[in-house]
């Protein structure tokens, strides 16, 4: 009689045992998929949330008056716009999200405003990420809350500044900061208004050294930037950078502890179940051995069943775990879930390899113990 035939007959005979075993494997795999997906999603979500703290790296012209810059956040010095391309061209450097701006304090319709021209954000090669700020179309402007409120401006209005007409694309919500008196436009428009063609006043960026094994990330950044732009100086918004790095490290470390723990618990869960199943069938092992079956055939019967349960449980567990992650993920990870949580082939492959393996390995020990001892001993344990 074929071993597969025996396995199937046993499964049909002990349906409830099979279903409970399957349920346990399925639950273990689904649980693992959910935790693993949550871990990944949580890291991504944290990274995105931390980006909303803003750019933490500023690159300004060497001749900037630092006192003035630190007091006002503005510099009157400028540098060529091409510096942006220079910074964005090398591969493997420790910064990303490069944003070139030209900013000046100016008087407009009786109010002091900050005119800010923004170039579209660029990323170095191989580090393409969604932009942190949406690009502003040429000929349009975003108006800060206080300005819009005091002057009664609204979306669609046209304003004139420095002899240039700009259509208001957005009136910003109250920010509680300098952005409330800012008028933002495309870099080219700002250069025209301020008569500074091809010039920028700073480049903002985000460092990528959250997980770097160093206590002095600024030295790394300064060395990298100095090698490309000796005419500029870089400094880091240290509290933002440290908060961002600390939060991201905390989330990664948390799941670095939780994930192996979950893998071990789920593996042990499947293993204990498989062992119990074999222990419950000691008599059969004794009968088979008494009838002259070798230990390899007896083992094949038990390991085969464990592998079948593991395989079906892994497939169903993956489907259910992924479905749960897709259903509940967007409620928890509001920024990244919709685009980033999706069925992952790698996880599926790992599940269908690991679950049958855990089940078979766990069955192997009691099966071999029973299959290699004298049949009379196994039968007596009935």
């Amino acid at each position: 009689m074929l071993i597969l035939n025996l396995i199937l007959k046993e499964i049909i005979h002990r349906k409830m045992n099979f279903l409970l075993s399957l349920l346990a494997v399925l639950t273990a795999v689904a649980f693992f998929i959910c935790v693993f997906t949550a871990a990944k999603a949580s890291e991504r979500e944290t990274a995105r949330l931390m980006l909303s703290m803003g750019y933490n790296l500023h690159i300004i012209p060497n001749d900037t008056d630092m006192n003035q810059f630190l007091l006002s956040g503005l510099t009157n010095a400028t540098m060529p716009e091409e510096y942006l391309e220079k910074l964005a061209s090398p591969k493997g450097f420790s910064y990303n999200h490069l944003l070139a701006t030209l900013q000046r304090k100016t008087l407009w319709r009786g109010f002091e405003v900050i005119l800010t021209g923004l170039a579209p954000e660029v990323c170095p090669p191989g580090q393409k990420k969604p932009p942190m700020v949406h690009p502003i179309e040429p000929g349009t402007a975003y108006v800060g809350y206080i300005m819009a409120d005091k002057l009664g401006l609204k979306k669609g209005d046209t304003i004139e500044i420095g002899g240039k007409s700009l259509k208001i694309a957005k009136c910003l919500f109250e920010q509680g900061g300098v952005d409330d008196i800012r008028i933002q436009c495309h870099l080219k428009d700002a250069q025209d208004i301020l008569n500074l063609p091809g010039q920028i006043s700073q480049i903002q960026a985000v460092d990528c050294l959250c997980f770097a094994p160093t206590n002095d990330p600024l030295s790394i950044l300064r060395n990298e930037i100095a090698s490309i732009l000796p005419e500029a100086r870089a400094f880091q918004m240290r509290p933002i950078a440290m908060a961002r790095a600390g939060q991201r490290q905390m989330v990664r470390n948390l799941f670095a502890v939780i994930t192996p723990f979950v893998v071990i618990v789920c593996g042990a869960w499947i293993g204990v179940l498989a062992m119990t199943n074999v222990r419950d069938r000691q008599q059969e092992i004794g009968i088979m051995r008494a009838l002259g079956y070798g230990s390899e055939k007896v083992s094949a019967m038990f390991l085969g069943k464990a592998a079948i349960i593991g395989l079906i449980g892994a497939v169903l567990g993956f489907v259910i775990g992924t479905a749960l992650a897709l259903s509940f993920g967007p409620n928890i990870f509001k920024i990244t879930a919709k685009t980033m949580i999706k069925p992952e082939l790698t996880l599926f492959i790992w599940s269908v390899i690991a679950a049958p393996l855990f089940a078979a390995v766990s069955s192997f020990i009691p099966t071999m113990l029973a299959a290699t001892c004298d049949p009379a001993v196994t039968l007596r344990e009935e």
Binding site: E284, L291, Y293, G294
Partner: protein, 220 residues
């Protein structure tokens, strides 16, 4: 010929060692019907299991036709058992998820697939299981279960049948019927060793060996 030389089997328990077989030496000839009698706990089952190659003795030699059973590898001993020995248990030991016919076929590791089918069919007819061959053990009576177990033991045309209290769970009619089948096997040239604590089987025996506290009295 079956030969036991100075066979000792000691079980180690929490309360100390228990000697199930104490220095047993005996010879059983080919085509002999031997009944081993003795009260419960006298070592009958241990003796049968040891002869069947299913329980390694603590010391001593068990040989069947010059083959030292426990000098063989586990795999070789299993093969030897399948080819030469049929075993009938008191508790039947049928596989619960296989029907009667499948339980009989299950023993067919030593016969070819083609012969196995025909042989199973013959045995089902011989043991009056034609209408019951597709029934699972829980749907069979005790007598039918034991007939299935005997058919299974005979599938590979063994030279020896070892029967451990084969009538212990049967009513008198079924017990007589089972002993009749074993007697038929004996008459056809097979060797039977039957362990029992009752007198029912004694009339079929060529020789009776009494076992008490693991010591054989071969005088019968």
């Amino acid at each position: 010929m079956i030969s036991l030389e100075n066979v000792v089997k000691t079980y180690q328990t929490r309360k100390g060692d228990v000697n199930a077989l104490s220095n047993i030496s005996l010879r059983i000839n080919k085509a002999e019907f031997v009944v081993i009698c003795g009260p419960s706990g006298s070592g009958k089952t241990t003796l049968l299991m040891t002869v069947a190659g299913m329980l390694r003795p603590t010391s001593g030699v068990v040989s069947i036709e010059q083959n030292n059973l426990y000098a063989m590898s586990i795999r070789a001993r299993a093969k030897f058992r399948a080819q030469n020995i049929g075993f009938v248990f008191q508790m039947f030991h049928l596989v619960p998820y296989l029907n009667a016919a499948e339980n009989i076929v299950l023993a067919g590791v030593a016969v070819t697939s083609k012969n196995r089918k025909a042989r199973t069919h013959d045995l089902i007819k011989k043991f009056g299981l034609v209408g019951r061959s597709y029934h699972r053990p829980y749907e069979l009576s005790a007598g039918e279960k034991q007939r299935t177990a005997i058919a299974r033991a005979l599938l590979n045309r063994p030279k020896i049948i070892l029967a451990d209290e084969p009538t212990g769970n049967l009513d008198p009619d079924n017990a007589t019927s089972v002993l009749g089948y074993l007697s038929d096997f004996h008459r056809s040239g097979g060797t039977v060793i039957l362990a029992t604590h009752g007198p029912t089987a004694e009339r079929f025996a060529d020789r009776i060996i009494y076992l008490r506290n693991g010591i054989a009295d071969n005088s019968g």
